[in-house]
C-alpha cells in the first residue's frame, strides 16, 4: 500500500516537472522547435497585407514577416483574419504574432504587447469628388461618416468629430469607399496609407482625400505578454533593419509611394 502511494506521488511529480518544463520554455524556443512562425494577418489590408492580382499574398508587413522568419531560420505560416479577429487570434494562441497596420494604443496594450513602432501614419478623411465638404472644418454635427469597427480611424474620428453621425462597417477599407460612393455616408475615415492605396483601385477622381490628418499614430506588430522573449527579439530585429536600410527600402516601395502597383 505504502509503495503504491510513493509511486503515485512520484508519477504526479514527474508530470508536474514535465508540465513546468514545457511552460518554462519561451515562445522563441517553441517557434524554433516547431520550425514555423505563425502570424495572424489580414488579406484586405493593402499595402500592408493583401492578396495581389496574381492571387499571391504580399505587402509591406508580409515581406517584413518573411524577413523575420528568414532571420529566425524557420518557415512562416500566415493565418487570415478580419481586422477585429486579429487580436482574439493572438490571445487564443492561434498565432505567435500579429502583423498588421495596427496602432499600439494604450487600450490595446492592456491586452497585447507591442514592440517599438517601425513607422508612423495618420487617419485621413475622404469624400466623394463632387461633395460640398472641402476641408476638415466643413464636417459639422450630424455629418454621416463611415468608419471601420475597432480601427484607429474610428477612435480618431470620434475624438475629432464628436458630433458627427457614425456608421460602423466591418470587412476592410474598400467597403468604406463603396459606402461613400453609394452615398450612404458623406465621408469616410481610414488610415492614410491604406486609404491611398485602396483608392487607386477605384475609378480615378471618384473620391477625394481631404487635406490634413486627424492624428499622427505609430504602427507596430504585436505579441502576447507571455512572450517577452519574442518581444525583445522583435525590438532588436527592427533596430537592425532600420540600421541596414532594409526597413526604409520596404516602406519606400510599399507605403511611401505607389511603386508596388506596377508589380502587384
Amino acid at each position: 500500500m505504502k509503495k503504491r502511494k510513493v509511486f503515485t506521488v512520484m508519477v504526479s511529480l514527474a508530470f508536474l516537472f514535465v508540465f513546468f518544463g514545457t511552460a518554462a520554455a519561451g515562445t522563441l524556443d517553441e517557434i524554433a522547435q516547431r520550425g514555423e512562425l505563425r502570424i495572424a494577418c489580414q488579406t484586405q489590408g493593402a499595402p500592408f497585407s493583401f492578396v495581389d492580382r496574381n492571387g499571391k499574398r504580399t505587402g509591406s508587413s508580409v515581406e517584413l514577416c518573411e524577413l523575420i522568419a528568414k532571420e529566425m531560420g524557420v518557415k512562416v505560416k500566415f493565418l487570415n483574419y478580419d481586422w477585429d479577429g486579429l487580436i482574439p487570434a493572438l490571445l487564443s494562441k492561434k498565432a505567435d504574432m500579429l502583423a498588421a497596420d495596427m496602432t499600439p494604443t494604450l487600450k490595446r496594450a492592456m491586452k497585447i504587447a507591442f514592440p517599438d513602432p517601425y513607422m508612423y501614419t495618420g487617419s485621413v478623411v475622404f469624400v466623394k469628388q463632387d461633395s460640398p465638404i472641402k476641408t476638415l472644418e466643413d464636417i459639422k454635427a450630424g455629418t454621416k461618416m463611415a468608419v471601420l469597427l475597432g480601427s484607429t480611424g474610428e477612435s480618431d474620428a470620434k475624438k475629432v468629430f464628436p458630433e458627427a453621425k457614425f456608421k460602423t462597417y466591418k470587412g476592410g477599407g474598400p467597403l468604406l469607399i463603396n459606402a461613400v460612393l453609394a452615398g450612404h455616408v458623406e465621408a469616410g475615415v481610414n488610415d492614410g496609407s491604406s486609404a491611398r492605396s485602396q483608392l487607386s483601385n477605384f475609378p480615378p477622381n471618384s473620391v477625394r482625400i481631404l487635406e490634413g490628418q486627424l492624428s499622427r499614430s505609430p504602427l507596430a506588430f504585436a505579441v502576447r505578454y507571455d512572450s517577452p522573449d519574442l518581444l525583445r527579439w522583435l525590438d532588436l530585429f527592427f533596430l537592425h533593419i532600420k540600421l541596414d536600410g532594409r526597413l526604409e527600402e520596404n516602406l519606400n516601395y510599399w507605403v511611401n509611394s505607389l511603386d508596388w502597383k506596377k508589380d502587384h
Binding site: 460602423t168 462597417y169 459606402a179
Partner: protein
C-alpha cells in the same frame, strides 16, 4: 476557466445589449411579418391558374433560394444606389430578410396546402363555398396548422440571419458582441452574451408556436 471570464464588462455593456436586443426583436419581428405575407402571396401565385403569375413566383422563389443572403444584402445595399435607389440601412435590411425568408415561406405553405386531400376542396365546391371561403375556412387553417413547426424553423433562421445586418452598419445583437470584442478584446464575453440573447428569442418563438399549435388543434377538434 471561469476566473478569467469578465462579468463586470458584460454588466457594463448591458444597456447596449438591451438596446440591441430590442433592435433585433423589432427588425426580425417586422421581417417575419413581411416574410409570411410575401410567402402567402407568392405561394398563391405559384398555385394559381395563370401561367404568367406562376412563372413570376417561380423565378422569385428559385432565384432567392439559389443565392446566399449576404450576396442579396450587399446587392441591395451597395448595388441599388448605383441604379439610383437609395434606402436607409434598416429598410434595406428588412427588405433583404423579407425577400429571402418570403421565398422559403412560400415553399413551406405550398407544401402545407398540397398536403390537404383534394376531396376536401371538391366537397367545398359541392357545398357552394366560394374560392375565398374555401381558402379561409378549409385550406388555410389546416395548411397553417400543419406547417407551424417548419414555419417556426424558418422564423428561427430569420432571427439568426438578422445577424448579417451588422455588416451594413445596423446595430443589433451581433454588432453588440463585435463592439464589446473590439473595444475590450473580450471575445468570449462578447459573443456568449450575444448567443444568450438569441437563445431568449428562440424560447420566445418556441413558446409562441406551442401556444398557437394548441389553439389550432383545439379549434379543429370542435
Amino acid at each position: 476557466m471561469l476566473e478569467s471570464f469578465n462579468f463586470r464588462v458584460i454588466l457594463e455593456y448591458m444597456p447596449l445589449y438591451m438596446q440591441c436586443f430590442l433592435a433585433t426583436l423589432w427588425l426580425s419581428g417586422l421581417s417575419l411579418f413581411g416574410a409570411i405575407v410575401v410567402g402567402i402571396i407568392s405561394c398563391a401565385m405559384r398555385l394559381s391558374q395563370s401561367r404568367i403569375l406562376r412563372s413570376i413566383a417561380g423565378v422569385y422563389i428559385e432565384s432567392i433560394r439559389s443565392t446566399p443572403l449576404l450576396a442579396q444584402l450587399y446587392f441591395l445595399y451597395f448595388g441599388l444606389p448605383t441604379m439610383g435607389i437609395m434606402l436607409p440601412e434598416w429598410v434595406t435590411g428588412v427588405i433583404a430578410l423579407v425577400l429571402n425568408s418570403g421565398a422559403y415561406y412560400a415553399e413551406i405553405i405550398r407544401a402545407g396546402i398540397q398536403a390537404i386531400d383534394f376531396g376536401q376542396i371538391e366537397a367545398g365546391i359541392a357545398s357552394g363555398l366560394s374560392y375565398f371561403q374555401r381558402m379561409r375556412y378549409i385550406i388555410l387553417p389546416q395548411a397553417l396548422g400543419n406547417t407551424i413547426r417548419p414555419m417556426l424553423g424558418q422564423a428561427i433562421i430569420l432571427v439568426k440571419d438578422s445577424s448579417l445586418l451588422s455588416l451594413i452598419s445596423i446595430v443589433e445583437l451581433t454588432r453588440a458582441g463585435q463592439l464589446l470584442t473590439s473595444e475590450r478584446f473580450t471575445p468570449a464575453e462578447g459573443f456568449l452574451t450575444t448567443a444568450a440573447f438569441y437563445l431568449i428569442i428562440y424560447y420566445m418563438l418556441k413558446a409562441f408556436s406551442g401556444w398557437s399549435e394548441k389553439r389550432l388543434i383545439f379549434r379543429e377538434a370542435h
